[in-house]
Symmetry: C2
Subunit: 210 residues, 2 copies
């Protein structure tokens, strides 16, 4: 008897196989047939779960957001880490770490995939804002931050971080990069109403991300 | 004898006709033939200037950026207007005013046109940042603003303004709108290092933009 769980497992198998192919062969060069060959299923089974190859990539993007969000939640819960560090680490955790993550992101950043890039940003914003809400409110309460619009401040920091460092709208060259990161940290500090220099400790961490 | 100017005039005729059609019939519903019928040229002539209908839309987008930039330059030069007002008015001048501008922008904001939306943002950022540089530096010199990264501050304000109010990543409902504008002005103030409340006067102006 086919159970709901079987369906979920099958779906996951397709996603894992597709991820591997997109990373190794490239999205454009991967056909639905390539995916079928690896998962060893009939075409009809594939189309039962996904309407198209693009829908598979969409599902992978939602997975990337979810992975980032779960890492962020875990970091936020770890009260051994100072508050400001937790917030910045949770934001940085949005850079996916699984094997081939960079390749999937490169795929996203291609001009042809602007639609999927928007989907990523929209989903990430919706998923991450509530996660960061709690520590930011704690920071306000403890007098570390000072702001009137916490939700919008988080949205703005996430948007700016993405637009400046994680999409193809701004393409800095290697020499511009350190200054752009310093400026981003300075603007983040100001929006949070934190002490001047409070985020300087993250300069190095951000540098390591690239 | 065909002169360069003839070519430019012809190109402009195509752009004006296409703009009218995109606005009235919609981009998807407009064919290259529709454009030919209005400008009264042969298909070959059209394809001499543009490779596709999409390239026409791209050219219209560059025109929109250029129109906004020229308006901004004019405002910045008008020293009768107080400095802070000039800067905010120049940013707001990016909302195009020509007839049908909203329809063209709606076209841009459709998910299918994410690629063109990115083109708009990239071009706008490159064109507008140097225009705003001069008045921002003047503001720093006069002690109205205080910041270490003027270029990046301008980039961030332009990016945030676009992402929060002028694309389809953030879709606020009508009740959320006033708060989002207040938050944007507050974040802009903080990034510029301006006095708290310095930009409050723009709340109403922004409100009228929608």
């Amino acid at each position: 008897m086919k159970t709901v769980k079987d369906g979920e497992v099958r779906k996951r198998e397709i996603l894992i196989a597709a991820r591997g192919l997109f990373v190794n062969k490239g999205y454009d060069q991967t056909s639905v047939n390539d995916i079928l060959n690896i998962v060893n299923i009939a075409k009809g089974t594939f189309y039962y779960y996904f309407a198209s190859k693009e829908e598979v990539l969409e599902a992978i993007i939602l997975d990337i957001v979810e992975e980032g969000a779960r890492k962020a939640e875990k970091i936020i819960k770890n009260k051994d880490i100072p508050l400001v560090n937790r917030i910045m680490m949770a934001i940085m955790a949005q850079a996916p770490e699984f094997e081939g993550a960079d390749e999937i992101k490169d795929e996203l950043h291609k001009v042809e995939n602007a639609k999927l890039e928007q989907l990523y940003l929209k989903t990430m914003l919706r998923r991450m804002t509530p996660i960061l809400q709690e520590p930011v409110l704690e920071g306000i309460e403890r007098g570390i931050f000072q702001m009137d619009y916490p939700t919008e401040c988080i949205e703005s920091i996430l948007l700016l971080g993405h637009m400046m460092f994680d999409c193809n709208v701004c393409e800095w060259n290697i020499e511009e990069y350190p200054r752009k990161i310093q400026a981003f940290l300075s603007n983040t500090e100001r929006m949070l109403g934190a002490k001047d220099g409070e985020l300087k400790v993250f300069l190095q961490m951000f540098g390591q991300m690239r």
